[in-house]
Symmetry: C2
DNA sequence: AGCAAGAAATTGTCAAACAATCTGACCGAG
DNA sequence: CTCGGTCAGATTGTTTGACAATTTCTTGCT
C-alpha cells in the first residue's frame, strides 16, 4: 500500500524536472520530497535500508544522494551513526531569518526592477493559487504554491546565487511549517502579508516590496519561534 | 614525484580538522584544496581516474565526495560527461557580490555587537597575518590568512547560517583570485580596505564596519569583473 | 579535409563482501 | 531492582569487480 506515494515525481514547481534524470537525482528528490512533505519528521533517523527501499536505488547511489542532501543542510550526518533529518531549534530559526531578511528583501527589490512582464503575471498567479489552496485547507497544495511563488521570485530577481542560497535555507524551514503551522490564525496572517508582497511586486514598487518583505519575515520569524518554544 | 603535495591535510584554517575523519571527508577536502589552491583551474574537467589517484580513495567514496562538492557549487556535473571545476563569468561574479554585499555586511555589523573579546583579538591577528603574507608576497599564505579572517568574522557574528551561505560563495571566488589577482596594485588596495574593516571590527564600531564592508565589496567586485572581462 | 563506423574510455549503476562501530539484549554484582 | 559489562546483531564505512549506457577518440574511406 501507499506505493504510489513513494514513486511520485515531485518538484515540478522548481522548474528542475528534466524528465530524464539519473537515478541519483531521482533518489535525491524523492528523499527531499519525503522530508518537505513531512513524511520524515525533524530529527528522525534515516537508515540506509529504509531509504534504499524508499528510492529503489542501490546503496552507492543512495549514499551519493545523501551526501548531496547533507551538503544542502537538509540532513545531518554523524559518522557511524547515519543520517538524521536536520532539526531546527529556536536559535537556528532565528539565525535563518536573520539571513533571510536582507537576502529575500533584496530579491524582492530586484524583482521589481528586473522581472519580465510574464514573471510578474506568474507571481500573481502563484499567489492566487496560494489563496485558493488556503481556502481549500490543502496543506500540500499550499506548500507547492509557496514553492512556486518563491521560485518565480528568485527567477525574476535574475540572481542565481540568491536563489541557491535561499532555496537551501527555505527548504529547511519549509517542513517545519507542516509540523507547527496548525495555527490557522497565523496562516491567515501570513497569507495577508504575502498578499501585500505580491501586490508590491506586481506594481513593481520597490519600496513597498522592501517593506512588505521585511514585515512578512519579521512576523513569520516571531510566529515560528513562539510555536517552536511552546512545542519543545 | 610530488607525492607529498598530494597527500597533505589542508583546511586547518577553517577549524574543521577533526584529525580522525572519514576517508570521504578527506577526499572531499583534498579535492576542495586542490581547487582553491589553483592546482585545478576553473572549467577544467576532472575525471574519476585522476581523482581516485589524487585522493587514494575508491570510486564509491570519491563519488560521494564529488556529490557533496557539486552541491556546494564548487563543481559542475553533466550527466555522462563528468565533473568540471565551476567556472565564473562576469555575470556570475556580479551576482555573487550582489549577494555578498548585504550578507557579509550584516555579518560585520553583528560581529561588532556579538564577538567575544578574544575573537576581536583574533581578527586583529588574522589581519596582521594577512599583512605579513602580503609583504612576503606569499599567495598561499595570503589565502590562508584570508580564510582565517573570514572564519573568525563568521564565527563572531554568531550566525551559522550566514557562515554556511557565505563559505560556499566565497570558496567559489577564492580560487579565481589565484588566477586573476596578479595585479599587485589591486592586492594592495584590497589590503587597505580590509584593514579599515578590521579596524572598525576591533573598535566594535557598527557603522564604520558597515561602511568598510560595503566599500570593500564594491571595489572588489569592480576589480574582479574588470580583470575577468579582460582575460576572457 | 570531412565524415562515418568502430574502438576505447568514461560515467552510471548494481551487487557482494568485509572491517569498524554502534545498539540493544542479556546477565551478573551490588 | 538498578547498574555495568559483555556479546551478538545491525548499521555504517569502504573496497572491488562487473556491466550497460554514453561519450570521445581513432581510423579509414571518399
Amino acid at each position: 500500500m501507499t506505493e504510489h506515494l513513494l514513486n511520485h515525481r515531485p518538484e515540478s514547481a522548481l522548474g528542475l524536472d528534466n524528465v530524464e534524470r539519473s537515478l541519483r537525482e531521482q533518489a535525491q528528490s524523492t528523499i527531499r520530497e519525503a522530508i518537505l512533505s513531512g513524511r520524515f519528521t525533524a530529527g528522525q533517523k534515516l537508515t540506509e535500508r529504509q531509504l534504499t527501499e524508499l528510492t529503489g536505488s542501490s546503496r552507492s547511489i543512495l549514499r551519493e544522494a545523501l551526501s548531496h542532501l547533507e551538503a544542502r543542510g537538509l540532513l545531518i550526518r554523524q559518522t557511524h551513526r547515519g543520517f538524521t533529518v536536520a532539526k531546527l531549534n529556536p536559535r537556528a530559526i532565528y539565525e535563518i531569518f536573520e539571513l533571510r531578511e536582507p537576502v529575500e528583501t533584496l530579491a524582492a527589490e530586484l524583482f521589481t526592477e528586473r522581472a519580465s512582464d510574464q514573471e510578474v503575471a506568474e507571481i500573481k498567479a502563484a499567489f492566487e493559487a496560494l489563496e485558493h489552496s488556503f481556502e481549500a485547507g490543502d496543506l500540500r497544495k499550499m506548500r507547492t504554491a509557496k514553492e512556486w511563488f518563491f521560485s518565480v521570485l528568485f527567477t525574476g530577481c535574475r540572481n542565481t546565487e540568491i536563489r541557491k542560497a535561499l532555496e537551501n535555507v527555505i527548504d529547511r524551514i519549509s517542513y517545519l511549517r507542516i509540523q507547527l503551522l496548525n495555527d490557522s490564525e497565523r496562516r491567515k496572517q501570513a497569507l495577508i502579508e504575502m498578499g501585500q508582497l505580491a501586490n508590491a511586486l506586481v506594481a513593481r514598487d520597490r519600496d513597498a516590496a522592501r517593506n512588505a518583505s521585511i514585515a512578512h519575515l519579521v512576523s513569520a520569524r516571531q510566529a515560528l519561534i513562539k510555536q517552536l518554544s511552546k512545542s519543545n
